[in-house]
Amino acid sequence: MEEKLVETRNIHKWFGKVHALAGVDLEVGYDEIVGLVGDNGAGKSTLIKVLIGYHEPDRGEIYFEGKRVNFASPADARKMGIEVVYQDQALAPDMSISRNVFMGKEPTGSLGFLDRRKMDTESMKALERIGLHLRSPDVAVATLSGGQKQGVAIARVLYFRAKLVILDEPTIALSIKEARQVLKFVENLKEERISVIFITHNLYHIFPIADRFVVLSHGKKVGDLRKESTSIDKLSELIVSG
């Protein structure tokens, strides 16, 4: 069987009496964009939190690059190349793009002084790679549009060689133009041989760019479909009735 990038097998998670995840098998292949969809409370966020080591699963295993893994914290997952881009993008609004891209991983010369030339050129290059063209690495992130901010966050995980990028509702609250921009960034990630899990409510956004869809409902997987074999209406139906 072809090796998958990520596999979760039979993941269960309880919060008190609430059975948040009831035996979820999730697979993500290499160079694949997977749309993780489902209604509110379906378990999408919980599944991701288990995957990145924020929560420990009560039952089940996780495999990464074919090997069994046990993440004690999101930091462990990051070391393996799993990155999450949160809705607020973990960006500092009043700091420049280059300082944000290298936040926590600043390139330094001697004694820990910043290599600002490297920060500036590398951050611009990373943005270019996903197709975001900005004039200067010096502008504060707060001056960017919503779509551009997502771009900076995505470029950041790309630069630090993520293998799997998880995007949590990246197009929510974005204008149509900005959303399309972000979708283009995500496609560029795939071209960079990075797999993506794209969590969203908006089927219209994810449908054009995803390779596969995983539908969750009440903590269970109710659908795992390749794009060719389904449609937005069918997915919608699954989400609601599943």
């Binding site: 973990a90 960006l91 500092a92 009043d94 700091m95 300082r99 936040m103 600002r116 502008v139």
Partner: protein, 335 residues
């Protein structure tokens, strides 16, 4: 990029944060210069810019300004320290008593510095590990150390004779030619913290922690350690100032450092530091640290009743904060 000029320092471009604040820094610098001109013109006999007054100013102002450097950086990190005045008093007490007991000024001085750092660390640890707003933590420690000082001294002053060791005294209150060494220390500390904040990775952590703490943590920055270090720096600078004041005035008095905490916050705000954290610059803080004593000096020379100074502080904090917000709004609109 909007058509603003970028000032380039000889060491190369200043950090991106400075870039944003060059626009604001210019305004602050203009205010600084205007104040000097106003006081120079209005003071009787233009005493304000007489060599004697300038020298006195350069010797005395750092007794306050040095602390602002640390307080400003702590505010950028997103925290406050209301206990600095009490740390000064407690520290000075420790030094003076140790000197009484051991007769060794250098020992007493080192101990004082050590105690300052420890008290700063304590503020940091309680705030961070106890998850208590620093405002409250340091309100508590402010009262604790001041209370302890009163308890131990009964409110009496203690005379201090540092002149028995000129080598020690000269470190803190000597002169290099006509230049008081205090302003040299201010410059040294200012430069060190400028480099730390704007050119070092630690500075990036300070800004990130203040601007988006959860985001910084998600990116792997140890925000707890960053804050604790900032508190420790404030403690160290408080101790330094405590020693300087004691040596200069040759006494310990229980009211030392009173109101420093509010003045330091005012000075930082004047320098463009946001009360919400994440925004500020060391050049601005350095200016603010000088503007406050400058205003006090000017008002005294103009024979204006001292209480007006507090009205000025209030007006300054409010108007500078409004000015900063206004300029930020304009900046965002332009781009």
């Amino acid at each position: 990029m909007s058509g603003k000029k970028v000032a380039r320092s000889s060491r190369g471009r200043l950090s991106p944060i400075d870039f944003l604040f060059h626009y604001e820094f210019t305004v602050h610098f203009l205010i600084f210069v205007s104040l000097i001109l106003i006081f120079a013109i209005l003071s009787p006999g233009h005493y304000f810019i007489s060599p004697k007054n300038i020298q006195d100013f350069l010797a005395l102002a750092p007794e306050f300004s040095i602390i602002v450097l640390g307080v400003g950086m702590l505010m950028i990190c997103g925290e406050f320290d209301l206990s600095i005045g009490s740390i000064i008093a407690f520290d000075a007490y420790i030094m003076v008593r140790l000197f009484e007991i051991t007769g060794n000024l250098f020992l007493a001085g080192f101990a004082a510095l050590g105690v300052g750092v420890l008290l700063g660390l304590l503020n940091g640890l309680i705030t961070v590990k106890g998850k208590i707003p620093s405002f409250i933590t340091t309100l508590g420690t402010m009262m604790l150390w001041r209370g302890l000082v009163y308890l131990l001294t009964g409110g009496y002053s203690i005379p201090f004779t540092p002149e028995t060791s000129p080598s020690f005294s000269n470190i803190f209150v000597g002169e290099i030619g006509p230049v008081p060494v205090q302003i040299v220390w201010f410059t040294i500390f200012g430069l060190i913290l400028l480099m730390l904040l704007h050119l070092h990775k630690f500075g990036n952590w300070v800004f990130a922690t203040g601007n988006n703490k959860e985001g910084a943590r998600a990116m792997g920055i140890n925000t707890d350690m960053t804050k604790i270090i900032c508190f420790a720096i404030v403690g160290l600078l408080s101790a330094f100032v405590a020693i300087t004041i004691s040596v200069h005035h040759r006494t310990f008095y229980a009211l030392m450092g009173q109101f420093y905490e509010l003045k330091a916050i005012a000075a930082s705000v004047v320098g463009g530091t946001s009360l919400f954290g994440g925004i500020g610059s060391m050049p601005g803080i350095i200016l603010g640290a000088l503007i406050i004593p400058l205003i006090e000096n000017g008002l005294i020379l103009l024979r204006i009743e001292y209480y007006w100074v507090y009205i000025f502080y209030g007006l300054i904090i409010i108007s500078f904060t409004i000015l900063s917000r206004y300029m930020e709004k304009k900046r965002l609109e332009e781009i």
